[in-house]
Amino acid sequence: MSSPAEAILPGRQGVLRRLADTLWRHPRLLLLLMLAPPVLWLGVIYLGSLVALLVQSFFSIDEFSGLINYEFTLKTYRELLIPANFDILVRTVSMAAAVTLAAVVVAFPIAFYAARYARGKWKAAFYIGIMLPLWSSYLVKIYAWKLVLAKEGILNWIFAKLHLTWLLEAYLSIPVIGGNSLSVSYTGTFLVFLYVWLPFMILPLQAALERVPMNLLEASADLGGSSRQTFRHVVLPLAMPGVIAGSIFTFSLTLGDYIIPQIIGSSRLFIGQAVYSHQGTAGNIPLAAAFAVVPIVIMGFYLWMAKRAGAFDAL
């Protein structure tokens, strides 16, 4: 018999080996090394600026000099409640809620198909189809929609060709959601928001649905559940974390966006636009900060409600 192999294999020599051995023996040290840069980035730069924002919102602006008064006050928050500003909040939150709800409804069948039925080539086609819009510039997409929705736009032309102009006119004459043309109505803003944020709803939803085992659907059917009941009692609750994840995207992105409502929609302001104008030309940093705090508070409240409603129970 030849000489037996060594029980402990020799490793690479030198500092690198000693370092590798040390890290292997102290996995926490390795974790610390890997986490330090992102934690510094998130903790110091992101959270730091968030705190700065929060602090700013408790200052106020001197109405005569236009200078910031560095004293703690709730005056700026009171200012949020005056009708002109409060309208902005209501308008933005309503829009975000409508966009989120519509995104869930539109995304569900697409995500369900992709998670359950699409295989191989079709799955690849699905991913490209969903991601492709994200690769092109956001501004290009919005201006493209402007061309679609404008008074002389594609949609009007199609309605005219189908002799349905009266239908469009009737729709546009509805107060609040109507307007002179789709491109200057809330409906237009809503459609573009829905289009631009839809991938952010589909992808988490698809991931959640993919994790629902097929045999749970069979078990539900086996116990007498029709397709509708199975959806209501099994698929939806198990997909809820995905719905919440997607809605965090659609809801918060809509709350914060200031470009879409500026290009498409009535000229009434959304939160993002208010922040933009107050911190820019108006120079009212405290009010801009207070406006910016609103989406954060709303999202926190939303997640708390979702947790209380058991949306994360399936996790």
Binding site: N215, L216, A219, A221, G225, S226, V234, L238, D313
Partner: protein
């Protein structure tokens, strides 16, 4: 008596693969029926046809005399215990068990009462508020059983329900399932790849191979009178004797089976054999023997002096223990 489940010429094809190939099957009302076979033999596909998860490519299925093909699972009074239990992870044990009742609109108080009863039936009271994920494998199995029974199905389907349990728990559950079957008096259809499980539990066994039913009978029939080499080999690993050998001892040129425990060691006479391997199994010892060109297995009691590997021994068996099979030469 009407058949609980009746298959006539049922086929199920996946592309070119014939998962079920013209299967004829009759499950009687109230019996414990086992579908036994190696993996991929079509037994689970067969079960899924009864549950309604899959539709036959051709053929006809009746459940209690009513046509079943084209009827969705939720309109069949048939319930399934799934292989990996398929408990709903977002519901606690009680809500899992009460799911079928909730679907049928039974009011909350009533369905919780029935669910508690069902949990008691499967010897699992007091765990109602736990989540499925917090239970052990054996407990999940019982919850799955209670959930399937709560709808009072005419046929209970069990898809390898004991596969994931360890030996001791499995034996205990086998007993409990048999007791439950006697208690409830409903038809059980049980899928397994474990021949001991099928033989010890079932009233009748259907043996599947390559999408076909190769033999149906009571466990005794299947064990003592296998009709083909496959059955003889699969159920209890019988010795299969080739036609030329059978011709010398029985005079008929047919395949035959000889159970290992039918072979005895003798001092002299009978057939001369060389011991190739010896496995001590506790109460008995399993020997591999070379008899001329033939390899035989014998199971002998460990009390006698067990021959060592390489030793020459003499073996014999009773003439009636050699079972001539239908399968020809």
């Amino acid at each position: 008596m009407t058949a609980a489940v009746l298959f006539s010429k049922v086929s199920r094809h996946y592309g070119l693969v014939k998962a079920l190939d013209e299967v004829d099957l009759e499950v009687l009302e109230g019996e414990f029926f086992a579908m036994l076979g190696p993996s991929g033999s079509g037994k689970t596909t067969c079960l899924r046809q009864i549950a309604g998860f899959e539709q036959p490519t051709s053929g006809h299925i009746e459940i209690f005399g009513e046509t079943a093909e084209g009827v969705p699972p939720f309109r069949r009074n048939v319930n399934t215990v799934f292989q990996d239990y398929a408990l709903f992870p977002h519901l606690n044990v009680t809500d899992n068990v009460a799911y079928g009742l909730m679907i049928r609109g039974v009011e909350k108080k009533e369905r919780y009462r029935i669910a508690a009863e069902a949990l008691e039936l499967v010897a699992l009271p007091g765990l109602g508020s736990r989540r499925a994920g917090e239970l052990s494998g054996g407990q999940r199995q019982r919850v799955a059983l209670a959930r399937a029974l709560v709808n009072k199905p005419r046929v209970l389907l069990l898809d390898e329900p004991l596969g994931a349990l360890d030996l001791k728990l499995r034996e205990q559950m086998q007993e409990e399932l048999k007791t439950l079957h006697r208690q409830l008096g409903i038809t059980f259809v049980f899928v397994t790849h474990d021949q001991n499980e099928a033989l010890s539990m079932a009233d009748r066994v259907a043996l599947f191979n390559e999408g076909r039913v190769v033999q149906v009978g009571t466990p005794q029939e299947i064990y003592r009178q296998p009709n083909s080499r496959f059955v003889a080999d699969f159920v209890g690993s019988s010795n299969v004797l080739p036609p030329d050998f059978v011709a010398t001892i029985m005079g008929a040129s047919r395949w035959a089976s000889l159970r290992p425990e039918s072979i005895r060691l003798t001092q002299s006479g009978g057939h001369e054999a060389i011991v190739i391997a010896s496995n001590f199994l506790g109460g008995s010892t399993r020997l591999a023997l070379d008899v001329g060109s033939l390899r035989l297995h014998a199971i002998v009691p460990s009390v006698s002096v067990v021959p060592a590997v390489g030793e020459k021994v003499f073996i014999e068996w009773e003439r009636q223990d050699v079972h001539l099979m239908e399968e020809g030469a």
